[in-house]
Symmetry: C2
Subunit: 256 residues, 2 copies
DNA sequence: TGAATAGTGTCTGTGAGACAATATTAT
DNA sequence: ATAATATTGTCTCACAGACACTATTCA
């Protein structure tokens, strides 16, 4: 049987909502880029951007190419997530997919997105063994329901089954794995800064961490922890009816 | 071009060395299972156990099958590590490999290993940008030299280049990624208990953590941290010229 | 003046590092 | 007695959670 090799991309970014109350910081949300399928199978359904890996490229090369095609962005964070190879994951045959996570800064997208690509707001509701992922925008609403099972008790290793979803292929599974990975890495690395503009206030940065980790953070504790990773710029922004804030930028601590 | 899909396994275990001083605990080391290639390419060189993924199975199924074939073990920890798909990683053509990590308890291997499979002691020497991995046993000695490069400064994302090695294919790269993953997970999960027998003393457990993490641990601190993960059995072992120790077993804290 | 965020200070509890002290056994 | 590990205790320091307090701006 002939095997085909593809890649699928989880392109995450932060969305800034307009706010009617000019004093408040703009509300933010995690957003994920999806494209609408134009062909069978799953015609007219949403799915992750992706495509076949060419003979002369690796899956990472292909992921870079697709990121550029969909967003016109280059040189953003891109890392292998996992390979999905269930036998019947694609009705067209044996198609395996190595998924990648990319984190981008939406404001860097100068030109338009590719024709079929649209950002969706992402929300996760997690209960004991059920995970519900909602993707929403003005056009559509997508629901993904997953069941969580323990595989190996000694290592708290879980697997996830797709109960139902209105997204193409097994992309509900891929999105779920991607979110878990993003959260894990948000805690243990500086990955989040890939989604931030060059200059940002500590309040904005805290908002982003709160969205990714899905919990409220304590102001002073957050400042303490983040302090070593950022450095102040000379710029100050007066952005509403409150004390002005300083712009900070990411500090490279490579030597340490 | 036709693509072939394979899996390679990193099967890790802990080795107990005999000790001439009967008072001391037996020295331990991390060991990795390798097989000797019987065919070209890389004939007579060592490589990771692995093989083609059949049409009717996933790479995880194939990994389970190969683990059983090489060790006669089933139901041990097995988790996807990463997919390796460099274009020229295999001289026979475009062959991509999804690698898995398995952790096993050597003492559970009742029958012999498969004919070509042998355990090697593993040692890692890490300098600034150089990583040197040595695999040794009575039969042979394998050296793997890698260069570490930064890819994405904001996320401390690195990639590794194989400088030279006397192991087949890109398996030096796979081993390096596997060790990094093992260390990361040793700190953040209970994965290590998959390599332990059902009953063990805290001293033995500490030895294993020290080998994996490659650093000395403080006795009392280790006991404090590990206490919540283990529970005492009624058995006590008098194993030398020192105070006898209690056998412990892994405690499942799934409800918490 | 009040709403809202920026930024600082401080108290408390937890947990890790360091190390000391005691226990127990075989040789 | 001695070497070696087992087990417990304790002191200190770093850090996170919680919350209070001050600063500053615009409407």
């Amino acid at each position: 049987m002939e095997i085909k090799y593809t890649t699928d991309l989880l392109i995450f970014a932060i969305d800034d909502k307009e706010n009617e109350n000019c004093r408040e910081l703009s509300k933010k949300s995690l957003s994920l880029l999806l494209v609408k399928r134009t062909k069978e199978p799953f015609k007219n359904m949403w799915c992750l951007p992706g495509g076949f890996v060419f003979d002369n490229e690796t899956s990472l090369d292909a992921a870079k190419r697709i990121l550029k095609k969909e967003t016109n962005l280059q040189n953003f964070y891109l890392e292998q997530l996992k390979t999905f190879d269930e036998i019947n994951r694609d009705p067209r045959g044996r198609i395996i997919s190595t998924a990648y996570i990319s984190l981008v800064d939406k404001k860097m997208i100068k030109q338009d997105l590719s024709k079929n690509a649209v950002w969706f707001d992402l929300e996760i509701i997690e209960e004991k063994n059920n995970i519900c992922i909602n993707l929403r925008n003005e056009l559509d609403s997508i629901n993904i329901n997953l069941l969580k099972n323990i595989v190996n008790e000694k290592s708290k290793q879980y697997n996830y089954k797709l109960v139902n979803s209105n997204i193409a292929f097994d992309h509900g599974l891929i999105i779920n794995e991607g979110i878990k990975d993003l959260r894990k890495k948000a805690n243990s690395s500086d990955i989040i800064f890939n989604m931030m503009p060059n200059k940002f206030t500590i309040g904005e940065l805290k908002q982003v961490y709160e969205i990714i980790l899905n919990k409220k953070l304590i102001n002073s504790a957050f400042r303490r922890v983040i302090a070593s990773k950022i450095e102040p710029t000379n710029e100050i922004i007066k952005n509403g009816g409150h004390r002005p804030s300083q712009y900070f930028k990411y500090k490279n601590n490579l030597g340490e």
